[in-house]
Amino acid sequence: MGRKELGLAVLIVAIAAITAALNPQFLSTVNLMNMANLIGLFGIFSIGQGLIIITGGIDLSVGSIFALLGVVFLDLTANMGVAWPIALMVVLALGLVMGLVHGLLVTRLGLQPFVVTLCGLLIYRGAARYYTGDSTIGLGYAEGLDGLAWLAAGRSFGVPHSFLALIVVALVMGVVLHRSVFGRYLFAVGRNEEAARYSGIRTGAVVTGAYVLGGLLAAFSTILLVFYTSSVSPSSFGNFYELYAIAAAVLGGCSLRGGEGSVLGIVLGTVLLQILQNLVNILGIPSSLNFAVMGGVILIGALADRQLAQRRSAPAPVKGAVAAAE
């Protein structure tokens, strides 16, 4: 566990302790499991966002992907009666293709990730609203979805499946990012794309790979989110969720300059965000202040991190001196 992750964990424990002291309901099983569910839902696509941020990119389209894939999934299952395994495959394939398109636009055509995914945000949202004529699609009484509903939104031993899914995804992506050749390439490309290319790395393929993984994880999250809300209203479903993901990744130590971050950090970032949301509810703070609390904590976190980084480098001017003398 690095310095950032440790600091984040301490912060989480401190905030949780204060909240629990003010309202013991915070530690009730119902509340904890409710939070675990939300952490699972938000954590999975935040990891995808983190991978993209590590390449030096960003994905603003996540929330709109949820809306578009959500209406596609419900239309296939609830309206057209397609078997859910097929619908699931279609949704995952679409997520993969969207990620691939983003990646290729960034690497092959040299467009900026911000611009590409901003267009995605607008296009997918518009497509979702057009697809349903701007009306909400519900799960309704769709036949044969019970199995998937249990998988996506059920609980085992009281633990929500979304949380278990996050643990699995985090473990797999943790190994991919921190132990595999691909993960090392991600960090190298994010930090110094040119040196990576001069080392024979297919930098375009590596970056595209991150977008594809991001798209896949977003598609996977779509299914969980659909069963969480039971209906998709295309104009509001998933609104701002890309910003939750970016916030979690940044809180978790991903640098928007690329080349920095960890899966554990992103998960802890998600945990902190969800605790903050919960705290607003449970302490009776007006829920309209929700975003303001989140923004404030992120700002304080960024300031504290900056201070710590400076203090850490201050007592060791030897290194600086040698570098300066050379």
Partner: protein
């Protein structure tokens, strides 16, 4: 006396960066400041610029004593820097750069006042005479983006002049300049000296110091180890002071003769930089072929084409008789053609990664099982390189960015030596590398050649080209202007070819051919 430094000391925890350093500078003289990397030159200059506060000694400027300077005081006392890494704004024009922070404002009552509009005409009028004094071949309205590195340096010197600088410090001013540009810079320095400016000239290129310095002060390990007067300045005396012993020879002679067949052969190669020129060149295994020429002659384009960074538009590249298609660095690396790039911080290394991670980067699948990196395998390979290249670092887990220039260059080399090189291209291999490490890098290059690797060395450092190469190819405007055999390699011949003239043929040529 413009400047006297008396007993300057500066300590950092564990390091005595400067210890009782004294030197002086009078108006109208050039003081050469030499020393290996880490000797304390830059720290001393930071003391002068007010960036670093000394903890002992006294700075006397124009007869006024200062225990320490602030940046503002240094500027006010007429101390100006021309930095090693250029700090110009290439999105602005020359006049804006020269007058940055001191822009003339339109004085008109209607337009002046709170809007503080910049008076562009006045700015250009102020800057034009400064450029003329330096003999610059560009005007104040030229966008800096269109200028060469040498011209940008002129912009920085003009900025120093515009601040009425009486002491100008040039830190490695020629490390990116071609020979003719260096000459022009040295001429500008001579003009400044004649006008009474005091100049401190820091350079690793001892030839330039010999040409332009009136006196030399040498630093080693934070101390002044000697002063040389005009008549005593030469390579041998300076080198002896810098490294504290006689340097027998920087250059290692070849142990074996190059073989004729099986090298890297280039026929009719066309690069993007010169689409109407083609290059033919044969590189023998076991030789070091120097590639000389002016900056912009197409040497780096050739290297980039061979390594697949900018694939060639046409032409054939073959290695050991086998024709290759090189469309990207990956394909070049797969064939054993490696490049040690010009800008190691940008293209050679990931500075935030460890030595081990940098060394394994081009061959990571070779250090992995089932797609997972084996840290032990990486560390072992990197440790082997650290020892054989004598990389001065506490271990292979330290970040490459913390190393000195010479040691960083060794890490770049370690990347390739951990694999199987057949042809190795060095682009400016010793830029920013101190004398001691230079010798080691030359010995490594020679060792590679003796093992049968074909070595191509691009260099703008004339001493290096002449000292290291077995043969020298000279490029001029996108083509090979001529090939000089060992016996005919000398500075006048290289210069003639580099500027598009014919070399003088010696008698030896006939024998060599």
């Amino acid at each position: 006396m413009l400047l006297e430094l008396d007993g300057i000391g500066k300590s950092y925890p564990g390091v005595r960066a400067l210890d009782d350093v004294s030197l002086n500078l009078t108006a109208g003289e050039v003081l050469g400041l030499v020393g290996e990397n880490g000797a304390g030159k830059s720290t001393l200059m930071k003391v002068l610029g007010g960036v670093v506060r000394p903890d002992a000694g006294r700075i006397r400027l124009h007869g006024r004593d200062f225990p320490a300077l602030t940046v503002a005081e240094a500027g006010a006392q007429g101390v100006a820097f021309v930095h090693q890494e250029l700090s110009v704004f290439d999105n602005l024009d020359v006049a804006a750069n020269v007058l940055m922070g001191r822009e003339p404002v339109i004085g008109n009552r209607l337009w002046g006042g709170p809007l503080r509009l910049v008076d562009r005409r006045a700015a250009r009028a102020q800057v034009a005479p400064l450029l003329a004094r330096l003999g610059a071949d560009f005007g104040p309205e030229a966008p800096v983006a269109t200028l060469s590195i040498a011209q940008r340096q002129m912009v920085e010197i003009a900025r120093a002049l515009s601040m009425r600088a009486r002491i100008i410090i040039l830190d490695e001013p020629t490390s990116s300049l071609t020979l003719s540009e260096t000459d022009r810079l040295l001429a500008a320095i001579a003009a400044l000296r004649a006008a009474g400016t005091g100049i401190i000239y820091i350079s690793h290129r001892l030839g330039e110091i010999t040409t332009c310095a009136d006196r030399v002060t040498c630093l080693r390990d934070g101390r002044v180890v000697g002063h040389l007067a005009r008549g005593e300045i030469n390579h041998a005396t300076m080198t002896r002071l810098m490294i504290g012993r006689d340097l027998k020879s920087l250059y290692t002679p070849p142990a074996t003769a190059p073989r004729e067949a099986g090298g890297l052969s280039i026929e009719g190669l066309v690069t993007e930089a010169f689409p109407d020129r083609s290059i033919d060149l044969a590189l023998r295994p076991g030789e070091i072929l120097g590639l000389a020429g002016l900056v912009g002659a197409g040497r780096t384009s050739l290297a980039r084409a061979l390594f697949g960074v900018e694939p060639a538009l046409a032409g054939r590249i073959s290695l050991g008789g086998e024709e290759l298609r090189i469309r990207n660095p990956r394909e070049a690396i797969a064939r054993g053609i490696y490049l040690v790039p010009e800008d190691r911080k940008r293209s050679g290394l990931v500075l935030d990664m460890s030595i081990a991670e940098n060394v394994s980067l081009p061959d990571l699948p070779g250090h992995a099982r089932a797609g997972l990196v084996r840290g032990a395998s990486e560390a072992k390979a990197a440790e082997a390189q650290r020892q054989s290249l004598r990389i001065r670092a506490p271990g292979v887990a330290v970040n490459a960015g913390t190393l000195s220039g010479g040691n960083q260059q060794k890490v770049v080399l370690g990347k390739w030596l951990a694999m199987r090189p057949r042809a190795l291209i060095f682009d400016e291999p010793t830029r920013g590398v101190d004398v001691g490490a230079k010798g080691e890098i030359y010995a490594l290059m020679r060792g590679l050649a003796d093992r049968g690797v074909a070595v191509l060395m691009i260099s703008s450092d004339m001493e290096e080209v002449i000292g290291v190469s077995d043969r020298v190819a000279v490029m001029h405007e996108g083509r090979i202007a001529g090939m000089l055999e060992r016996a005919e390699v000398d500075e006048p011949n290289i210069l003639r070819l580099a500027t598009g003239q014919q070399p003088e043929r010696h008698m030896a040529t006939a024998e060599a051919v």
